[in-house]
Amino acid sequence: MALFKTKPDKKSPEDEAAQLAADLFDETYKEELRNYGREYFRQVIDKSTANLKNDVDASIAGISQGLKEYMLGQLDATVARINSDLTRHLDRRLAEYDRVTREAQDLAVQSLNRNAHALHEKYQQLSQTLQQTIASQEAMMITVFEENRARMASTQSAQESVMSSLNDNVESSRQQSKQLKEKLEQSVAQLEADMRRVFEESKARIDAANQAQDSTLKTLSASASNLESQYQQLSDTIQKSVDQQKDMMVGAFTEHMARIIDHYLLEALGDQYDVKAQLPGIIEQLQQNKQVIADDMKL
């Protein structure tokens, strides 16, 4: 009987290998592999995010520093150029004002000199006229006196008879002398009045010249203050324009950088998720909008 005993069932090596593989790769081991895979992808995403943040920080710092240096250089050059232009313009205007003032002063001095010279000449002429008049009067008086003395010498005998006439002559001479003196005093007074009038006229002209000079100086001062205010306004306007341009450039750069980051994230995360992994999140979002969806489908 032992010879015909049935042999126990023996599995082939292939079946054993398949059974071993099935035992090894059970659901627990597969879940561990999935967890390991998820952890690995999470680490990759974290590293990518950190590297991206570092790169973006470095780029922003470098670009911001370069932009600041460039803008400061441009601003300094612009302000220096404007200062140079304004200084040159002011110097030119001030030189022109100096020249005009000097010419006005020269003209005023020449006019004063001419008036003084004319006054001096008139004074000389009047002095000569007065001397000539006095000399002629003296000569006339000497002549009359000599004639009277000749008459006295010739008519000494008839002195008594002509005494009265002599006295009359003396009296007439005295009256003539008095008249001459009065005429002389009148001439001197007239001369003094003329000289005073000429002096007053010259003084009025000098005052007018001084007033013109004062008004010219005031105009120059007002022009200088206007120029200074215009320079200040121009400087403020340029500063505002530079600030606006800087803000616009920084804004555009930030906007572009945000788009680059968006694009990078979309590219980096595009293939990381399947629908099954997202299903809880999708259902949660649908749940949040459940009422809106239901209302729309009932319409």
Binding site: D57, I60, V250, T254, A258, Y273, K276, Q278, M297, L299
Partner: protein
């Protein structure tokens, strides 16, 4: 058929495996084909007096008939059922869902089940693929579009990202 005369298209319960509008069309085609086969078989039986082979009913159609307590013995009732299914195919609310990657059948079944429980019991899906969504889904109901994608979330956070970049850039 037991209740087909009383039931209209609005009373039909869709099986869970019937997810998309294409599935509904396929169900209708199967029913029409089956109707033809059964009619032909009936005629042959009358002519040959021999019993024809029983036609094969697809699993989805069988589940539909079972859920709605229907059978296909009477040709008039089959015609009525076909007409109702045609109406259902035209009037069933359709939700278009666009995914970033190909959606598996199991996920679609869960989504259709949620919509049938929450919105309308006869909802069917049409599925689209748009990799630029990155993740999430864009849902289009008859009158609205709900974008639950990661791209939309990133666009929504765009202003915040700009502010952070300005802060990093020292603009403040």
């Amino acid at each position: 058929m037991t209740d087909s005369k009383q039931k209209t298209y609005a009373d039909f319960v869709l099986p869970a495996s019937l997810v998309t509008r294409l599935d509904l069309s396929r169900l209708l085609i199967d029913l029409e084909r089956l109707d033809n086969e059964l009619t032909t078989s009936t005629v042959r039986e009358k002519v040959d007096s021999s019993r024809a082979a029983q036609p094969v009913i697809p699993e989805q159609l069988e589940e539909f008939l079972r859920l709605n307590n229907l059978d296909l013995d009477d040709t008039n009732e089959r015609s009525y059922l076909i007409r109702q299914l045609r109406i259902l195919k035209d009037k069933a609310p359709v939700v278009h869902m666009t995914f970033a990657s190909t959606a598996d059948r199991e996920s679609l079944i869960k989504l259709a089940d949620w919509l049938r429980q929450s919105a309308h019991p006869q909802t069917v899906l049409t599925v689209g693929l748009q990799p630029s969504l990155v993740a999430g889904v864009s849902v289009r109901t008859p009158n609205r579009v709900h974008d639950f994608s990661l791209r939309r979330a990133l666009v929504g956070q765009h202003d915040k990202l700009v502010k952070q970049l300005e802060a990093l850039g020292g603009k403040g």
